[in-house]
Subunit: 568 residues, 2 copies
């Protein structure tokens, strides 16, 4: 059994394949004695969808190489940036068991159904009070609050001490679902936490993150003032928000219909798990809404991030099959734009204004959203309750990790006891010390959700090049034996210049190509490879000189044997 | 002389070729009697630089078609979104005179020097007290405050009444430069303004826009607390800000060096025009900074928007030739990210944190920036002083225009007297009425700044396609007369799949192509065009089926005549 050679005897290894230096694709690895525990396997949605991939997953190569030691995959909660990578992980790696809880189990099972051909491991549904033993290590759980139900922090009781991984959390004293287990946090704090790994997403935000309950109240108040149809968009995973929107509709005499595939599924799972309790008759089908006047209708839909194909975007741009936005409607964004999505959200809002729809966004005027991640006071509480000896800020871009470090230092943690890590950086830990132990392979794998699988970074690079200046293909048909061109060079351009109207440029390129071929023919050893390289280099320079642009040059050489060709 | 047929006798035409429904590429047209007045000719920087163009200019076709009636181009101020399109306009259209003032004149002249081969018209340097007469129309100017010196609102006194175009403005009672001419605003208000066109950029922001002076004070206070090197980035056009940074350096015993081409030029122009007055010895050259300890140095640089090639970005990513960021340095962003640039700014900040540099951004903690555009109170004052009969909100996305309309209605302007327009929409106006008169041609022209000129939208579309799924080229060498393939089809892919490892897919595509060719050969009338179309359609379907992707299919048919080829 191959041990991690970066670790000394007795040391615990902690590192991430995703989630450090970025927000998304969380995947943390804990190597304790002979066991590897994988915590979460998420995806990351790119800022820019232009390059034809839908999301990014971690490079799981380390787990492929060490799969015989994997004790299990432990899921903190059911958000895509924590479970979205599971099917891809399972395709590559044999995972004996997945430990997940509540709504996360439903979401994972649904996800695996959608990915045919993935071998489904046993899913162990853990509860707050469960404990699992692996050698001398005990795995247990602490319920915390987040923007999805059933989010648990992960406790490893090891021979060296307690390691606590918070997952994503906020401090919410008036949550919509079950309360967080603050007593357990205090208890491990009293026992002594060797190392805390804590969520840094909002480490730059001062103060407290408002309670989910206050948002529900604000939404109900807004509903009370509106007299037209309400269209409200939120994250499909925020089942608590959905419940509060159902309640607000009920309190204000409105029926609610759900639009958007992921929202419909969330409503179904939310009702199955009991997190959504709709009074009878409140939820109506898409077809039924026409039976009610606008002031008695709430439309709950996807698209709060301006995603082009989501229900709200289609309603905004007029392509939705069933819902036409009209004056009198009010669209409420019960969400905040995730960085990178601001442009898409703005576009959607602008289209709604064009339809004379009133738009309400979260802001100083209306509290229609709150974050699921703790602000600085929440983080202070976590550090104060658990009082760790060593601290690793996780989940966040580099600057967020550093802000979280500074905050921990204010709480009294020694700077040398805090590790700021990148994906792949290995921290080695024992009861006395923490150290940087080196690196393992980590990186980005691009996934085309609809396609045959992953897209290599070289392909992404080619797409980027093609997108910037287009391409120029030069096709040469020649007789390599008799060293003759059989036809004039053909020049084809896409995304570079119009062929029509630029005949001077294209014929100059063809002439250049001919000149290069004739030069190459004069070599003693004429090779196609050499000819192609010359075409790429020299045509590229020639085009740059003429146009100041650098399209991708694709030389195509069609060699016909002498027998094929005996042109006189 | 071709009149605008959309206008009735006596009507004034008002429309935009850019600036309505967007922030950027401002270009407003006023048709008064037989004269066309063009106000500003700007460019727009795209959110996404991936498609290989640098900016967007208005489609000037209307001006090409009506150039004999153009009385002049009037420039409100020297920002790129108001002057950046001038060289492109001049390439297409004969403009008799450009009217510009102060620093805008320098910036335009510099711009025209950079664009060789553009015929430079006479630049008339107007002053606040000047008046120019065109038939029965009088052109005059009102100085207002903005984030660049010498910003003027444009007054047309016409037979029908006064039309006032604000340009970009904020209300600043303690400006760094000359005061705004509020008296003139009140005066035209008292005379009666027929139509006001007013800046809507900040129509969604409640309250007042803070004074430029408060930012200078805050910056000087921050400087006073810092003990290491200061690197401060701002907009190169904000000469007032630069002046205040020079002052803050002087007050705190620091020398200041300027980095970044546009910032160096701005410093030069600012000193020439007298807007920047640096105490002797404060400004030092790039080479001299090494002579001073870090606590005596301020580096003023470009890159406040995270632009990849700007000085700050290079300092952050370690590729700057002269400046290496190091622990102890403080980077101050005296700016706010323009929508679309947030990601780039975040990337720069993250890189700076990796170098253990302290970063200060504008926010609740530090007032390091203020907008040049008036918030809602500023807009209320403009409307209240000028008391227009008709109102056209300009400069802004559709929702900003509508917010500005709502605000004007609160001030007491009749909803029917307010026009919400898109680029190309023509408003016709006389002393009694305002109406929508139809449309003229308007749109986006993509410019590759380093290239041979404009890039058509079809080219942009091709680049977008190429960027999404790459390309697949199928090369067929055939003898059309004898209806024979001379070689096996060659398949080339870029940005689609790796050729290596996917031989099954490529050979299946080649086989499909062969099958298509043989089918086409069976037609009575075999044509290359028909063959290419069949390849595109059928290979596309075949590839979609195999891979779920839709690369661009580029068929290449090399026809060799019978004489070329007599394969047995």
């Amino acid at each position: 059994m191959s041990r991690n050679t970066l670790l000394n005897a007795g040391e615990i290894g902690i590192f991430a394949l995703g989630g450090l230096g970025e927000v998304g694709k969380n995947c943390y690895i804990f190597e304790i004695e002979d066991n590897i525990f994988v915590v979460d396997a998420g995806i990351l949605f790119p800022d820019d969808s232009l390059l034809g991939f839908d999301y990014v997953i971690p490079d799981f190569q380390y787990l492929v190489d060490n799969q015989e030691r994997i004790a299990g995959l432990i899921i903190t909660h059911g958000h895509e940036d924590h479970i979205g990578g599971i099917p891809y992980l399972l395709k590559q790696v044999n995972i004996p068991k997945i430990y997940a809880s509540g709504i996360a189990v439903d979401l994972i099972e649904h996800k695996l159904l959608e990915h045919k051909g993935v071998k489904k491991p046993r899913i162990v549904e853990y509860k707050a009070h469960h404990t699992y033993t692996f050698g001398s290590t005990e795995l247990s759980f602490i319920r915390l609050n987040h923007s999805i139900p059933d989010m648990f922090g992960i406790v490893f009781k090891t021979k060296e001490g307690i390691i606590f991984h918070t997952g994503d959390f906020k401090i919410d004293y008036t949550p919509v679902g079950p309360a967080a287990e603050y007593d357990k946090l205090a208890k491990i704090g009293a026992e002594g936490v060797l190392c805390l790994l804590s969520d840094s997403t909002n480490a730059e935000r001062e103060g407290d993150t408002p309670s989910e309950r206050t948002v529900g109240k604000a939404i109900s108040e807004i509903f009370g003032k509106l007299t037209g149809r309400i269209i409200i968009a939120t994250f499909a995973s925020n089942v608590y928000r959905m419940q509060q929107i159902v309640e607000a509709s009920y309190q204000n005499g409105r029926k609610l219909a759900v639009f958007g595939r992921s929202m419909e599924r969330a409503m179904e799972i939310g009702q199955q798990t009991g997190y959504i309790k709709a009074p009878k008759g409140v939820i109506v089908s898409a077809e039924e809404i026409n039976k009610y006047p606008p002031e008695e209708i709430t439309i709950l839909c996807t698209g709060s991030q301006g995603e082009p194909m989501a229900a709200l975007s289609r309603i905004a741009n007029g392509t939705h099959r069933q819902i036409k936005a009209m004056p009198g409607d009010t669209v409420i964004f019960s969400s905040s734009p995730i960085p990178g999505n601001q442009e898409g959200v703005n576009r959607t809002i602008d289209q709604l204004y064009r339809r004379d729809v009133t738009v309400i966004v979260n802001g100083p005027v209306a509290d229609t959203h709150t974050s699921g991640h703790g602000a600085r006071n929440d983080l202070r509480l976590m550090l104060s309750l658990t009082r760790p000896k060593f601290f690793i800020p996780i989940h966040g871009e580099h600057r967020m990790l550093k802000h979280h470090r500074d905050l921990a230092m204010q709480i009294g943690i020694d700077k040398n006891h805090i590790m700021i890590m990148d994906n792949g950086d290995v921290t080695a830990l024992n009861k006395n010390s923490i150290r940087n132990a080196g690196r393992v392979q980590a990186g980005d794998i691009y996934i085309d959700g609809t396609g045959i699988g992953d897209i290599g970074s070289a392909i992404i690079k080619e797409r980027k090049l093609l997108s910037e200046d287009g391409l120029l293909s030069i096709i040469l048909t020649l007789d390599p034996v008799n060293k003759r061109l059989l036809t004039e060079p053909t020049v084809i351009s896409r995304g570079f210049i119009y062929m029509k109207g630029n005949e001077v440029i294209t014929s100059s390129i063809a002439a250049k190509a001919k000149e290069i071929v004739n030069l190459e023919f004069q070599r003693k050893q004429f090779t196609e490879t050499q000819l192609k390289q010359s075409i790429i280099d020299k045509v590229s320079d020639h085009v740059k000189e003429m146009t100041q642009r650098k399209p991708m040059i694709i030389p195509v050489v069609m060699s016909l044997t002498q027998k094929d060709s005996n042109q006189s």
